[in-house]
């Protein structure tokens, strides 16, 4: 296998993301926020398009799009006429559609649409790595510090509230952590498949875990394995990196589900 600089950077970046996405992904699974992750990720495309249109750093406009989304969602959730998944669906697909329309007006040489949608892990730079490991460490520190509160809330939100957990603040923190991870992971797996990196390793880990903590650790491990396998496939068969990583993660999930089913018989 070629171990050139870009390859090492890709590996380091991918594994860095997997280590953070695993534990955070557990909360996405426990709190059923998968659709919310999709909506955020699609909002990122709108943010990127906005950045190019306004000629400012797309990372900034993407962050702005996240904040806007979080506000819209919090505002809409209080109303009872429509279920949250319907609202999320409108927001999510609306953002994706508008993002795609906006990007179509732009010079294809300036905006690498496929790179944003499907990820371009082989172009990870040293600066990207610094962001991934710096931001990733921050996310893990916050998760660890608030672990008991977040876990109590995942078990039962009303009970957590009655026991004095600041539920609204915790919800906001989870939203922000997801935004950060999506921003960091955009280059690795792309906007369309980011949620998979959050939920598939966590779901795989569920097959083997008996405590929330082992589930978080195993999710990080399975994510790392998916990155290794996906990158290897991407290099060998020249397939796009993001889909290859997610395909590897789903393969791991299927094998573990089958193994688990056989053991239980």
């Amino acid at each position: 296998m070629l171990l050139e600089g870009f390859m090492l950077r890709a590996l380091a970046g991918g594994i860095g993301i997997a280590l953070v996405a695993g534990p955070l992904g557990c909360f996405v699974v426990w709190r059923r926020m998968a659709y919310f992750g999709d909506a955020l990720a699609h909002g990122a495309l709108l943010g990127v398009a906005l950045g190019f249109a306004l000629e400012v750093d797309p990372n900034l406009t993407t962050l702005a799009a996240f904040v806007l989304f979080a506000l819209i969602l919090t505002g809409l959730q209080g109303r009872q006429e429509l279920a949250t998944d319907t609202l999320l669906g409108i927001l999510s697909h609306g953002a994706l559609a508008m993002g795609l329309v906006a990007v179509s007006f732009m010079d294809p040489l300036r905006v690498d649409l496929m790179g944003y949608l499907l990820g371009d892990i082989l172009s990870v730079s040293v600066v990207d790595l610094a962001w991934i490991f710096g931001g990733g460490a921050l996310v893990l520190v916050v998760l660890a510090a608030l672990w008991t509160n977040l876990l109590t809330m995942a078990v039962h939100e009303e009970l957590a509230r009655a026991e004095g957990v600041p539920v609204a603040a915790m919800r906001l923190v989870l939203m922000m952590l997801m935004s950060v991870v999506i921003l960091l992971a955009m280059k690795i797996v792309g906007i369309l498949l980011i949620t998979a990196l959050l939920i598939v390793p966590a779901a795989t880990a569920r097959h083997f875990a008996r405590t929330p903590e082992t589930m978080a650790l195993l999710a990080a491990m399975f994510g790392g394995m998916a990155v290794l396998g996906g990158l290897f496939a991407s290099l060998t068969w020249d397939t796009p990196s993001g889909p290859s990583i997610v395909a590897a993660a789903v393969l791991l999930f299927s094998v573990s589900a089958l193994a688990r089913g056989l053991v239980q018989r």
Partner: protein, 266 residues
Amino acid sequence: MRLAKPPPSPPPSSPQTLPGGPPLIASHGLFVEAGGNTVLSGVEMEVRPGEIVTMVGPNGGGKTTLVRALLGLQPLSGGSVTRRPGLRVGYLPQRFQVDIALPITAGRFLSLASRADAAQREEILREVGAAHLIGRMLANLSGGELQRVLLARALLKQPELLILDEPDQGVDVTGRLDLFDTIAGIRSRRGCGILLISHDLHLVMSSTDRVICLNGHVCCSGHPSSVVRHPAYIDLFGTRAASGLAVYTHEHDHTHSEAPPPEGAP
């Protein structure tokens, strides 16, 4: 005998003083509105140390809303709630269900609630008859088992007031009798006040000191045997409910055969 460490702040009132002393918690002219509807209007109620107060009433009558208001989870549109300063409350919420995706044992779930050590957790689980559940996955427990684990969790903080929102849901009739025995036992051992929501007044009757019948407002309240004869109670639940009570109060041994099928049981 129970050998719990002495609690940090004032100990639970001793059974000798029951049911007396100033109220643990009380509502004064409480109003709650939700979505333009008045859910509760002018509710006056209180729970004193060592007494079991049972709240009954039709669905949508505002029982859970009142509990949430007492806990400070529900904004009030009028009136007030007073709590004894520093009151420790244990709460068992309605419709508790743990996502199967979250792997957590009953023991770990208890450890999330407080820094009590493992021995204390086991002891409290034994008190509610759930010691054998400590290593079981929370999501795999039956309705009755889960309620006992929740009860243990509520007791971990040495509460002076227990608020139990339909602890008998998802529990069959035999299990309900056991559960209410356990709850009555907790009261007599610990002397804490208990506010209980139940659909089945007949079963909780024998261990209840006071009944509050709630349907948007307090329709009637008092000793269970007087409440069931109250016109407002009969209006709400019909004469059959009132006469059915006689069977339960006088023939405790035969509740299994004479009990109606549990409503809404799956």
